[in-house]
Amino acid sequence: MSSGEASPWMTDADTDHHLKESFMGRAGEIQPEPMFDPHSIRADFPALAREVRPGVPLIYLDNAATSLKPWPVIRAVQAYDVDFPANVHRGLHTLSEEATAAYEGARGKIARFLNASSDSEIIFTRGTTDSINLVALSWGRATLRQGDEILLSAMEHHANLVPWQMLAQEKGVVIRYAELAPDRTLDLDSFDRQINERTKLVAITAMSNVLGTIVPIQEITRRARSAGAVLLVDAAQAVPHQRIDVRALDVDFLAFSGHKMCGPTGIGVLYGRQALLDQMPPVIGGGDMVTHVDRAGAEWNELPWKFEAGTPPIAQAIGLGAAVDYLSQFPWDQVVALHHSLVRRAEALLSAIGGIHLLTPPNQVNGGVISFTVDRVHPHDLAQILDRSGVAIRAGQHCAMPLHQTLGLAATARASFYLYNKHEDVDVLAEMLQNAQKVFHRR
């Protein structure tokens, strides 16, 4: 991200600075190293070596759906299965102790990655969806009353929408939506009009999985704080693409998935502020989340285990820890710059083609997602045609139907980048889009 390219709402130099700090980690200490080169790490990702069909190499541009997995993560998962496939916490034998140390060690890695105050603030879940639902079913059901309000944005993923709608239905809570500005970034004025003293929760994405734009969370935090609302951030896209510092951002809850950040499927994280988590009732009951059970009832375990009933996703948590290690080795400001430059290049090439309409707001800070429509070609047909050339993109509504309704679009196509994507991938995308146009335009 070159310093000239700040989003329009980042007018305040201070905010800008904070944003960069919290999103980009050690951005202050600009690294003298050579520019991060995606070519150098492609060998880490075995899927990149595969051919989609004989002679057709994979060009994977569906990273917002899930990322590819590098060898260190694959090996970490396998190490559990091969070397110490034991249950955690309750065993005194060596394998169980090794498994417990690895599982809790992964929690520690994630706590440090997010700069959480303590490991107790890191709850392992199945993924972002699970994390958000945990907040809805625990904090939400215990706290919200009829007439309370939840403020979302117009660009939320179903994962940060449906749980609140279900809760609203149960509790008589009102859901409000902050609208998009004409350039399809979040309209902070609309946000200001929707937030009020009845707003008990602001739940918002830090990066849109459709538009790719980054929401200025510190702007949101400030507003949530002055309204006295709790702030939940859907960081499913943000954590893989930015450096997140939960204390600098001052958020209450942050949810993300392992599988979008080089980790395994089946694992995710809910970061929660300890003071809130302490008060919250558990949702799922069972082993490990109790200190005492008798026929009459149970006493809850301390954090984080109060929210981790039963055998947890052990191998997957360990894999996520390995993913955090893997990602942490790179100069992250340069990775951010890479994603940004891939989107810029795609913007430039796709706009030049004609008949292609970009949804992604132009010239915004972007975490590596570009969405578009092509005249006369349905996005699903487009995805299928591209697939025959090995180019994997996604088509549809990307689990963001209300956003598509707002934009008046039935479906869109989306290319999304990650740290192993090269500029040539964008060039092939552009070429294959023209090819698809030819198929459909030939009459």
Partner: protein
Amino acid sequence: MDDFYREEILDHYFGSSQRGRLDHPSLSADGTNPLCGDAIHIDLAVDEQGTISAARFDGAGCAISQAAASMLTEYLEGRTTDEARAVSAEEMLKMLKIPFTPARLKCALLGWKTVQKALTPKAEPDQPAANS
């Protein structure tokens, strides 16, 4: 060139004479593909002998779903409702002559399912498609 998007499919997709609505359909139905939200509307005019005198489709969707609906409605005109009901999913796929992946199967059969729905005697009152 492209066995999926060959001439015939694209002709049906772009220039179908079957596309549209009937003013006074005897039967009609709406169908949605839950995977993508695409929707198809089917109108059938049936005469007293039970012959389908006109069949039309309307909607927005991928080339496969639209071409399939076009081919099917074309095929149905002049046939009886009994014959229409007897058209199997396999016959529908044969008309399209496309190698199907599971995801595209739903596209291919959207129109066919909607026709079957229109032909079902106790069809509920039509509801607007959820996401059109």
